[in-house]
Amino acid sequence: MTTTHPESDVILEVKDLQKHFPTRTSGIIRRASDPVKAVDGISFTVRRGETLGLVGESGCGKSTAGRTMLQLLEPTGGSIHYNGRDITGAHGNDLRKLRTEMQMVFQDPYGSLNPRQTIGTIVAAPFDIQGITPKGGVKAEVQSLMERVGLNPEHYNRYPHEFSGGQRQRIGIARAVALRPKLIVCDEPVSALDVSIQAQVVNLLEDLQAEYDLTYVFVAHDLSVIRHISDRVAVMYLGKFMEVADRDELYSNPLHPYTQALLSAVPIPDPRKENKRERILLKGDLPSPINPPSGCVFHTRCPRFREELSDTERKRCTTEIPLVQKIGDHEVACHFAGPSKVEVL
């Protein structure tokens, strides 16, 4: 296990992370059977101050990955180093201390706020839990936080239901940044919001990142938002990374057939361009994460596999798990990585 110096620019190093959810057999005596492999061996680093976008369709394991790296879920395998320190399996006091540095913003701003607590109490909770009293007292600090995220500090004593969706997400953000963490995992923070509000929250997150020197892992299914906010983007499919690259590189020159299909599917708000685009349509449905396809997990739906490869090449896809290979600035898990034949965007 390589250890990174605390002062290095890698804040989080994840190696071969796995999260499997157990299932049981039917029958009178229920034995454990094949687990759901929600996250199945992903490795990546997050650099200090950057935003890593984690994108994929529902069921690909991106949210589970986000929660597991924060130890909200216990990993089944692999390791997580934070600032060079192995935090895999941290619990109790260690974990509580880690929470001052690693926080999470959730998708559903209403569901993650206790409806019986005032905003003041909710935002102050991290201080209570950690037993920290900020300078000037908790209330003053909370009110200044509220102001910072664009809430009226006079609304300190109001309840979540008195706020709109966008405001609730601001409350969630205020709570997350209260302890000045270093790393925040944002799990679909804007997908429940209307377009005009979504932009407000995205901007707020960017401003806070600059101001507090935050590092984000931004989990989302919206490829446009990911492109806007991320420095690097990882594309997930069935618990594995398909492709990781710098933002613009990934969007302008995707090398993995899945990335290509994904990007080509997004409609562009530009009718003329849209009319000229050719879609790479994926056939069929997402396979089960309990019994993922052999070899490359994507091969069952892969257009390249279907249309471009010879039988011997296909054999490789169905039997051999593709290793992550470096192609230019890309890390791609595909035996036959390469640019798409059609323009995807």
Binding site: R24, T25, S26, G27, I28, R30
Partner: protein
């Protein structure tokens, strides 16, 4: 599914045995000496000791429970006195498996008592169940369809009145006014079908079942109304409407199917709970069912009968739970047990 049922039944049996132990431990821990209740008037310490022995309470609770549990599986006999059995076998009560014990206060095996009282409680529960299901669900649907109107308010309001009154008052009120003062119905008394035919059986059930039903009707009206209203807000009803279906079809095929599923669950559990006896109604109407017998057993410290009825009632509740869960899988194709 079969495996699921087997697992649930096994878990239920373990729970029932645990409940019997808990009941016995509580009983043995009570400061009251049950032997006093059987000893007679001029009781002496020696007689008291003999009574305690005859009752079986001279042994520790655990061995009492082991005896009891053994009886369930292999049967038992009372009293367990080899000398007595040798010299006077005719005095030994045989209690074949599943033996639920022997009540010294009733001088017969508990199972016989339960077999005798169960039809009374079951008749009452089922008759009441039919009444409240028809009236409660029917009125609930009407109230939901007429939501906000006078009809709705009248139904919900009058249901609340019955809901607010204790069963005892409703029962006594019906008894005194309908049967005694005005003589509209005969004084209720339980007559088994074997003794009096279906007519007398139903006649006897009328008031007590109505009492019990009135208590439940309110809940079912509210429940049905709420579920129908909830179902009416479901997207799939909008779909049904958008398809151009007629309102009757929308109501019966689409709305009620969704709304009544949870009602079926609650109803099954309620019925299961009632089959084990309805204490207040049975007492008010002097129905010699499991509920009244249980109260009598508890007040006379008749442990075997108490335990027996507790277990039978628990069995009904547990069975109802299993049946309801299985039924749910039948009604709702999304539910699968493995």
């Amino acid at each position: 599914m079969f495996a699921y049922i087997v697992r649930r039944v096994a878990a239920g049996m373990v729970m029932i045995l645990a409940m019997s132990l808990v009941t016995m431990v509580l009983f043995f821990a009570s400061p009251v000496d049950p032997a006093r209740y059987t000893c007679g008037k001029n009781c002496t310490p020696e007689l008291l000791e003999q009574n305690r022995k005859a009752l079986g309470y001279d042994q520790p609770v655990l061995s009492y429970w082991v005896d009891f549990t053994k009886g369930i599986f292999v049967g038992s006999e009372f009293p367990k006195d080899p000398a007595l059995k040798k010299s006077a076998p005719e005095t030994i009560a045989d209690c074949p498996a599943p033996c639920l014990g022997y009540s010294p206060q009733s001088s017969r095996p508990v199972r016989d008592i339960i077999v005798e009282k169960l039809p009374v409680s079951a008749s009452l529960a089922i008759a009441a169940f039919i009444m409240w299901m028809i009236a409660g669900v029917g009125l609930g649907i009407v109230a939901a369809l007429r939501k906000g109107t006078l009809v709705d308010r009248a139904i919900v309001g009058s249901a609340l009145v019955f809901y607010a009154f204790p069963t005892f008052f409703i029962g006594l009120g019906l008894y005194v006014f309908l049967a005694l003062k005005w003589g509209i119905v005969p004084v209720p008394a339980y007559t088994s079908i074997a003794d009096g035919g279906v007519g007398l059986w139903l006649q006897g059930l009328l008031l007590p079942a109505l009492t019990l039903a009135l208590v439940y009707i309110a809940g079912y009206i509210r429940l049905t109304r709420a579920f129908v209203l909830e179902a009416k807000g479901e997207d799939y009803l909008r779909t049904a409407q958008a398809k151009g279906l007629k309102s009757g079809r929308i109501l019966f095929k689409h709305t009620l199917r969704g709304a009544l599923t949870p009602i079926a669950t609650v109803a099954g559990l309620d019925l299961g709970g009632l089959l084990g006896g309805t204490i207040i109604t049975e007492q008010v109407f002097n129905y010699d069912g499991l509920g009244r017998t249980a109260v009598m057993a508890a007040t006379t410290y008749d442990l075997p009968v108490t335990v027996g009825i507790v277990l039978v009632a628990a069995t009904f509740v547990i069975t109802a739970n299993i049946v309801v869960d299985v039924l749910y899988a039948v009604i709702d194709p999304r539910v699968k047990y493995s």
